[in-house]
Subunit: 307 residues, 2 copies
């Protein structure tokens, strides 16, 4: 009965969620094109055999962005076996819509950025939202990390003062490269299975999730704009390639969305557009003591209070 | 009782296996140094807290080899939970020794090579060998692929005529990038859980596994020697970087040894020395029809009869 009482508070349709996500996708692409000043996002529509499809938008070889994608999808089908323990026993079909972004700038002065918002429902009344935004600087600028987290906190606080601390910790735990014992970057927020409860309707969560999507540009663009004019050395570029290698490790080994996509036979090019154009692995690479690279490594830890 | 009858045919000690593997490691490093003509393998000894350790040997920035490692390890400890269904109920402790190689040449004319031999036993009498060799050409040269497979087949045939066909198919199935629907390269042989049976003692299997290790240089060096003088274009280099990206995908998503290492807290730099120094991901890259790159893709399929 829990699922039923939750859905009673839901007045939106799944089409409304998909449409809102697609609008956010369009706004984000436009905002990033302005930052880049040269490249624009391609548009590629695709369909899945089981129903639905998506719109993949890719930017490449820009002034600022080397490779990046903003992907929207709205798909439906028979519930995969591994989802059965997460939904009502009667559920047989699912609908899922999401928008996800990964942007790899050319310059090591500009952080990699990732964001995702998603919605899942079944024909048995299960329904929840998830999402997150996290920043991966090649060199951590503490002021900018604070700025980024402050933007996220402000959005969270408008909906629930408990959200930011909870979702910030969730991001620390999620965006963690266990085998390296380091966080992917300076984190951000991450949340999943937000189904609503007695105090918060699913309608309100839908509003929150849209607000998270709309926070993307305000949290990232000022950082990208400020740093895009900075010069960089070959050594800094090499460090970027190594950090991108860690990004690849995270995405292929741990990222749930990536592994879900690979295992369910999603569109590979859309799933793996999160990978950088170039990445490096240097055996046993250790930054020099006291170097900027080492300072960054010191900050790639859980539990740093950025906001 | 099955485990017992198997172990009755075993007259070697685990130290003898470790020692044989280490000798093969030394011979392979020497052989590869001769091919390179400039760089030599470093030596790095390491210990694991639970017991045992290893010797990691790495080559970098040579004439021929950009990055490569030949890793030996012999470790022991408490049996990990996920191994319990593979061993006798009474087993509590394991010993594992292995030697594994991944070599990434600079030139796209020279294939990436991988090989591995390994032995596992428990304190309850379980004991088995595993191993494999597979070749990943950036451009498939059919004559060389046949040469490579023929060497492996000759070694297999000396021990059992059923080995090559069986282990060749096992390699096709194992070195397969499911989400790309392509094999990693032209395959080779792969085998695991060789415990011996009424016809074949574990002693004989030990001999076979050593022979596989000793086949490495004969199967690879002639190819590397022949191709190392060939020139290559920037376009061919870019194709190499893309194929290396697929190698990274295989190792991080599917390779059992890599995932076992990451999950059991092995020495990360030794586990991930298999990753290339540089790799690329280009969104939706498709080779031109009729190009050499496309011809290679056509050959990255299961079931090609190379020997």
């Amino acid at each position: 009965m829990e699922a039923l009482s939750e859905t009673m508070t839901r007045t939106f349709t799944k089409e409304a969620v998909a449409s809102a996500f697609q609008n956010i996708q369009a706004a984000i692409c436009e905002g990033l094109e302005q930052v880049d000043g040269k490249a624009s996002f391609s548009k590629e529509e695709w369909q899945m055999a089981s129903g639905g499809g998506g719109l993949t938008r890719v930017i490449a070889n820009g002034n600022v962005f080397e490779k990046g994608g903003v992907n929207f999808s709205a798909v439906q089908g028979k519930l995969p076996a591994f989802m059965k323990d997460k939904v009502s026993a009667e559920a047989t079909d699912f609908f899922a819509t999401g928008m996800s972004i990964v942007i790899h700038p050319f310059s090591p002065q500009i952080p990699i950025i990732h964001a995702n918002i998603r919605y899942f429902e079944t024909n048995a009344g299960d329904a929840w939202f998830g999402g997150g935004i996290d920043l991966t600087p090649i060199y951590v600028d503490e002021e900018q990390a604070r700025f980024f987290h402050t933007q996220l906190k402000e959005t969270c606080d408008q909906y629930n003062p408990e959200y930011y601390p909870k979702f910030k910790q969730w991001a620390d735990d999620y965006f963690f490269i266990t085998h390296r014992n380091e966080t992917r970057g300076v984190g951000g927020i991450f949340f999943d299975y937000l189904k609503g409860n007695d105090n918060t309707s699913l309608d309100e969560i839908f509003e929150f999730v849209k607000a998270v999507g709309n926070t993307f540009l305000k949290a990232y663009v000022p950082i990208a704009e400020k740093n895009k004019t900075l010069s960089f050395t070959e050594e800094q570029k090499n460090w970027q390639l190594i950090r991108r290698g860690r990004y690849v490790e995270f995405n292929l080994v741990y990222d749930r969305g990536t592994r879900f996509g690979l295992e369910t036979g999603g569109r590979i090019e859309s799933i793996l557009m999160s990978l950088p154009e170039h990445a490096s692995w240097i055996y046993n690479h250790k930054p020099e003591e006291g170097s900027e690279e080492e300072k960054t490594l010191q900050l790639l830890k859980k539990g740093v209070d950025w906001a």
